[in-house]
Subunit: 378 residues, 2 copies
Amino acid sequence: MRFIIQRDRLVQSVQDVMKAVTSRTTIPILTGIKITATEEGVTFTGSDSDISIESFIPAEEAGDEIVEIKETGSIVLQAKFFSEIVKKLPLGTVEMQVANSFQTIIRSGKAEFNLNGLDPDEYPLLPQIEEENTLKLPADLLKTLIRQTVFAVSTSETRPILTGVNWKIENGHINCIATDSHRLAMRTAPIEGAENSSYTVVIPGKSLNELSKILDDNSDLIDIVITENQVLFKAKHLLFFSRLLEGNYPDTSRLIPTESKTDVVVHTKEFLQAIDRASLLAREGRNNVVKLSTVDNGFLEISSNTPEIGKVIEEVQTDSIEGEELKISFSAKYMMDALKTLEGTEIRVKFTGAMRPFVIHSLNDENITQLILPVRTY
Amino acid sequence: MRFIIQRDRLVQSVQDVMKAVTSRTTIPILTGIKITATEEGVTFTGSDSDISIESFIPAEEAGDEIVEIKETGSIVLQAKFFSEIVKKLPLGTVEMQVANSFQTIIRSGKAEFNLNGLDPDEYPLLPQIEEENTLKLPADLLKTLIRQTVFAVSTSETRPILTGVNWKIENGHINCIATDSHRLAMRTAPIEGAENSSYTVVIPGKSLNELSKILDDNSDLIDIVITENQVLFKAKHLLFFSRLLEGNYPDTSRLIPTESKTDVVVHTKEFLQAIDRASLLAREGRNNVVKLSTVDNGFLEISSNTPEIGKVIEEVQTDSIEGEELKISFSAKYMMDALKTLEGTEIRVKFTGAMRPFVIHSLNDENITQLILPVRTY
């Protein structure tokens, strides 16, 4: 293997595939990045066996030569050292060459690195995926779907299925659901390619977080291929594979109340900041429980109290409060997480009594549902 | 105590005095910030008993009212909660009021906090310092003096005196010296007010680091008052006290070689980057040892080698190499730390053989001396 490559492209590809590489693996070769040069270009692969990422740099793009391939071949290099080295190379071009017994020379200007490589034949093969049905989502919408739901997955391994996001695809729509059994986030959106097929899969939250970091914030369509135990996301020159979680995702539809007893419309940012301030003195337990109660003249009172430190009480002007009076307690953290995902300047909160889950929507957009279970303190 | 104050000024003062507050103190009241309101304004104090910081907000400045004092008095509030609260207050003005038994109300807009305060009479008094002799340094020069020397103090408590920077002041000059016994940093500058007095003190490195963070990067003169066991830095509305280290600082003057056998002039940035690259594959021990040797045609060869990972070799063009041929090994970290403090695009390195300390200066400025002890590897 021998080629000369533009450094900036090399750095970008290595940075992308590094997102799948972990030093905490039981398979030593997975601490490396696999590099394969063909006449068409150079492919970089990183994997922790749950997530695998492949980044391709074409020999030529839009008439410009990006890689000059001198000899095809492949090698695996220690990811930690290789990624640090490429970032610090002195010139805009880099020569890479595999010599005897996997010794690899990386040359840029007057700097020459000689790295001990590993046998590329030992690197596991990526899943082979038949591309029968391809779904399509714009990259920015995909990132938004992830951002609005993935924060609500469980971080506990007691019910592993809840560490993933449930994607239900049917009738041309995708419905993403995440819950840790104390709160639930749900987002619906139209999706291309699902007119005649339906899927329900659970994608690990960690995979979606890493995917979101790699995708650009533009409207380029991402191809999504779902198989029995893998999902593949295809962007330009980038393949992102994730295993799926096995097991049945709980039916969450009955959790979401269909009626409400107290309806509040309030300015999102003012409400969020008041909750944030109240949470400063709400250190009981991990999740900073605050109290909310309706008061006269369309005000909400937000308060918290930790006797050894002090208390805070604040009134927030609402646009409207309809229905019954209410006193309720909930986690300030869950409320702030939920509010940060909602678009628009106003939100509607629908309460069904102090001990029942409540639902938060953007005022005129029910595509996002955030649900929170209250805490018993009154 | 009761006053109404501009929030931005309150936030800035609290942030400044917080630099002296630590939660790891054996004196519970020092986890608090002391607030004292007089007719002239409000004073905030934080201390960990090594460092004490006092920030004053005048009632009036340049004809603008900054604080409206309603009632004088004082209180101590938990630093951690108080500092988080003031940052998140909703309006540009804040009312603070001490009610019964140290209960303190902080009110801004419709938000009202009620904090349990502590008895201000229990807060230790700051050192009383007689201002006989006042030295003066511009803030930006003081920050530069600190930056160029403090990184070289020892982090080990085996010789506590070496955790400080030795300031020698005489004949109108200040000489700052730091060493961890593997390297030494020295900086000389003129200082105002030392025409007829001389001092030699050792200031804890930690104090100087905190001082540097608080000072603005301008040429305002900072007053420096030195006593037997304290040093006081006075900026506008800010007092910074630090205790001094006790004991005799070692005489370092004999360490610095007066002659040299090999003189190299090289471009600072190119040399630094080559060392940085070589250090990537130099993981033997903590300090990333790299090798330097003179080669033909005015080149330096920088190299390192870790058999299980690989090796790197690089040639750096010099402006000149004068004197004997040389092969020497040293810590890449120490070299990079030293190079980053030097001003100007070119440096001169004076070697006195492979086993002797060597000295690095800016090409035409010997006010900064960086000295490094080599490592025995050849």
